[in-house]
Amino acid sequence: MEFVIHHLLTVIVFTPTVGAVILLLHRLFGGKSEALMRWIALWVAVITFILSLPLIAGFDRLHPGMQFVERVPWIRSFGLNVDYYLGIDGLSLWLIILTTVLTVVSILSGWRAIEHHVREFLIFMLLLETGVLGVFVSLDMFLFYLFWEIMLVPMYFLIGVWGAERRIYAAIKFIIYTMAGSVLMLVAIISLYYLHEQATGQPTFDLVRITENLKTGVLQLDPRVEFWLFLGFALAFFVKVPLFPLHTWLPDAHVEAPTAGSVMLAGVLLKMGTYGLLRFNLPMFPHAAAELTMPICVLAIIGIIYGALVAMVQPDLKKLVAYSSVSHMGFVVLGTFAHTEQALHGAIFQMLSHGLATGGLFLAVGVIYERRHTRLIAEFGGLGQSMPVYTGMVGILALASIGLPLLSGFVGEFLVLVGTFTSPIEHAHAFTVLAATGMILSAAYILWMFQRVFFGEIKHPENAALPDVNGREKAMLLPAVALVIVLGVVPNWFMRKMDMTVLALERRMAGVAELHQPRRDFSNQRVSASTTIVNGQSETEEVTADGNRRLGN
Amino acid sequence: MVTEAMWTVLQQVPNQARTWQGFIDALLKKGINDFILLSFLLFAIGVAGVLTRRNILIIFMSIELILNAANLNFIAFTRYWQMSGRLSEHMGHVFTIFIIVVAAAEAVIGLGIVIALYRNRQTVAIDEIDLLKW
């Protein structure tokens, strides 16, 4: 117990691995019961989720640095200083919870759909969870890269073995795209390590220390070097997000993957990209970030509108949800590069919201796919009559995805829009208007889909007899449905935990943005904002008002 | 013309030293460049032989030619330096013996392989041995 308390993050990250090992041992001892394997995997995932809950309770929201830190020397030789260094802050806290929740529901979603090689499926799901959690908690760049790449392997198998017809194409496309992005990140990591060693004499992959040294000017980068390093990291993350021209792997991977894979992909894997942007690119290379803000925002806007327009014409439900991901993740990128506090809050919040809503929608598609073995919208219609409970749950998820007030999507997208509107970047107003158009389009395609699938007469007789969601399916849809409501109703409770992290990021960027926009003066607001938060009175409304004042200047 | 040049060299050799040793020493007195050139010619002929001939046995011979070009270099250099007074130079001669031994071993193995191949394919033409490609 003592060990668990002091090494909470390690325990959370590796509990799924232990589960995978148990499943392997189960095989070695000749176990054949698939039901038992499923229950083992489910319990392991549930235990991981339960273990991740103390993080919320124990998280000190006024603490500006990393928490639950664990640090052990790992590889120490030849100036290769790699630590096993874990820790979380306001940015990663909720992503961890999101991951543990979605793994549970993903395993539930595969309960019936996965019929062959059940053990291997469960093993890969659990290993995937370890990889994703590892990415969110690593504070050592070497360790981060390790988890970042390791996670590709189980995902590759999940798509390739349990996917639909074009699974091989999708799997190889997925892995080549992601690897192409991430090897350049490896080069950037090596060069950053080298530069840091040159400047300070300390060889280290320690993310926190390098960020700190970059901030205080101990390590100063040549603008050109900073530009290339930024691109090196950003490319890896943009592929993952995915940002507009790099998104083409996503529809294939989503459509071909099994439901569980799609949920993990949409729910958490895409967030790794935006997480990386917030963890590496903004705090480390703010000058390059400021310089590149304009093209990135333009691409994000294109992604928002393009994703929405393409989603509108999709005949396939899963493809529709996949393209809606492109659109919604565009909001996250926009929020990340708007360089205001609200936009950052909104971006992180939108990550959670999108993970739950889109993950939930993929689960929902999986439910009817299991019944009808088709995902074409035209094959459905009038499901509202045969499956009322299901319709209600999907309705909530769809509305959350659109951004209806009191549901999670609203908070994230609204904050991004407000943040962008008050942003110091050029053409901020135009961006806001265009992004808002994307919101309207998303309402259009989601509601249209909803109407065609659930309302109207039952056109296909087989739809009339479809059984409504059973207990397992309720259990798997309910967490997503409940959480999008909770997130929408009490967003502050979630956002309070991120305040310090967001503030630090915003300050870092503001210090730079001044260089580019000399007319605007943020220094006063920054100080006042920080004081309010230290006093523990940070409220979203206040921050918004603060932003409006800024606009007035 | 070549014989004429050799004759003029021989004229300069004192009578008591009219042996091969004496002949070569006399040549070396004129400088080492001719030897380097000769060995390079041998080398070039060898390389050309390996690259253009299709009979495996001729290719072997060409390879031996390259080895002997190297031998010639070693011997010539060492003797040249010995003649210019550096009597401790002897490594080249030693190495030549090594190389001859190695070349003999290599020839044995090579011929063994050719015989094995000939049993299987009834040919020693290199361009007919084309089972493995790409």
Partner: protein
């Protein structure tokens, strides 16, 4: 020069002596007590290799010294690479176990040749003189010519042996001619003496000789370590030779070749020469030629590997590509990175070839990638280890291949070859395509035709277990190996600078 001046020192070449004696003993044993038992020959071979390994390890940490008039050197570099090649030979013995039985091959001569090859490899790692390098290379290649053609009624095997022989002898001749020219330019073939000679200005003629000689050395070594454009023999030989021999060829002689190449490169061309010296002028040419070679090697190897349908040929091209990565380490003059990479490569490549050898079965029948379809879930004891090795060869973190690559990339980056690193990482992505294609075929496709499961003999099971564990051990906990390499660093520091 008296007998002392020759510097006779049996302990310096103790591993070689043990290996050679074991080989001779094997052949004598066969002459006096003939037996077709592969167990007896195999056990003697393993014992000889084991004792040689112990002899190598007990020299560890010994002060750097030369013997036999500077022809042989003992330092940690040599001991490390000797240990690598001996371990590669041990693994090759395990791999050959089944092959000998299936092909009904006289085991004694086979193992004796393996041992003589090990002698050559050990000599190569210990050579401190260009002539020793030549002799070592010849000992290795003459043994391996025979090994490659060991299935002598098989057309592919004899053809491979012939191609290997012609190109091998040709490249050795090039190397030798280069050595002769270097000898002409510097009056010596001793590596340290050459370095000293290059550290002062040379005459016009000597410089020309040195230039041409160095180029020929580069070509000769390029052949031996399968660098593009001197790689043409590799795919044919790797495809045609019996799979256990291919496995051995791709790691043992290659590691030894790299050891010699590395020592020659860092002693002759890697030294910090004085400004006005001849070495200084040659150095930049040499390094840039090597860098270009590295780029060509990895890029061609990876691109052509994509098109392969035969897994042995694919692994041959992959081995060419890996030679390109290792050349980066030579360019960066970081021998520890090269050593670690060779350890990692030995482990994962032997493992991969073990699976290939098992699936190929008697007469190397099933060597097409298509033959692997549906293998994944039918025989997880083979498919999962192979997946691990392929992932490691790709360089996914957590495996030996990643740590090795990471270190090479880091060294090259710090040495200022940033373009080389960027090309290398792009190559990593290309390689992912064909390595993971095998995974696709194994797991994502159904079997085209029924192939009855392959039994897993004990020797193979052992090899697979060792190599899988080794792959993860080197990938996750490399600290201990790093520690030993780091110890060696101090011993060899003046070699590099």
């Amino acid at each position: 020069m008296g007998i002392e001046g020759l510097g006779i020192n049996y302990s310096a070449i103790l591993p070689e002596i043990i290996l050679a004696l074991t080989g001779v003993a094997l052949m004598l044993m066969e002459a006096f007590w003939p037996s077709r038992s592969k167990r007896r020959a195999g056990l003697v071979t393993l014992a000889g290799l084991g004792i040689a390994l112990m002899a190598t390890l007990q020299l560890w940490g010994a002060p750097r010294q030369t013997a036999y008039a500077g022809m042989v050197i003992i330092d940690d570099f040599r001991l490390l690479f000797t240990a690598i090649v001996i371990i590669a030979s041990v693994l090759a013995v395990f791999l050959s176990w089944n092959f000998l039985e299936e092909e009904r091959i006289q085991p004694t001569a086979y193992f004796a040749l393996l041992l003589f090859c090990a002698v050559g490899m050990a000599l190569l790692t210990s050579s401190h003189d260009l002539i020793m390098v030549f002799l070592g290379i010849e000992t290795v290649t003459i043994s391996t010519y025979v090994l490659a053609g060991y299935r002598r009624n098989d057309l592919r095997s004899t053809e491979a042996a012939l191609k290997y022989f012609i190109l091998g002898a040709f490249s050795s001749a090039f190397l030798l001619y280069g050595i002769a020219l270097v000898y002409g330019a510097t009056h010596t073939t001793n590596l340290s003496a050459i370095q000293a000679a290059l550290n002062q200005p040379l005459g016009e003629a000597e410089r020309a000789l040195m230039m041409v000689g160095a180029a020929m050395l580069l070509i000769g070594f390029g052949f031996k370590v399968t660098a593009v454009p001197f790689h043409v023999w590799t795919p044919d030989v790797y495809e045609g030779a019996p799979t256990p021999v291919t496995a051995f060829l791709s790691v043992g002689p290659k590691a030894a070749g790299f050891a010699a190449f590395l020592r020659v490169s860092s002693l002759i061309f890697g030294a910090d020469f004085d400004l006005a010296s001849a070495g200084r002028a040659l150095q930049s040419d040499w390094i840039s030629a090597l860098a270009v070679m590295a780029i060509l090697t990895m890029t061609f190897g990876n691109l052509i590997a994509i098109a392969q349908t035969n897994i042995k040929r694919m692994l041959a091209y992959s081995s060419i590509a890996h030679a390109g990565y290792v050349l980066m380490g030579i360019v960066a003059r970081d021998w520890q990175a090269v050593a670690f990479y060779m350890i990692a490569y030995t482990v994962m490549n032997i493992g991969a070839f073990a699976v290939v050898a098992l699936i190929a079965r008697r007469g190397d029948e099933h060597v097409l990638i298509e033959d692997y379809s549906g293998l994944g879930f039918r025989q997880p004891t083979l498919s999962f280890p192979l997946t691990v090795f392929l992932i490691s060869l790709t360089g996914i973190p957590g495996t030996a291949g990643f740590v090795g690559k990471f270190w090479l990339f880091k060294s090259a980056w710090e040495a200022g070859f940033s373009m080389l690193v960027i090309i290398a990482v792009i190559n990593t992505v290309i390689s992912a395509y064909y390595y993971l294609y095998v995974v696709i075929v194994m797991f994502f496709r159904e079997a085209k035709r029924e192939i009855e499961p392959v039994p897993l003999p004990g020797a193979f099971g052992f090899t697979l277990a060792v190599t899988v564990l080794g792959t993860f051990y080197l990938g996750l906990l490399p600290t201990r190996v790093f520690y030993y390499l780091n110890q060696a660093q101090t011993a060899i520091a003046h070699l590099i600078h």
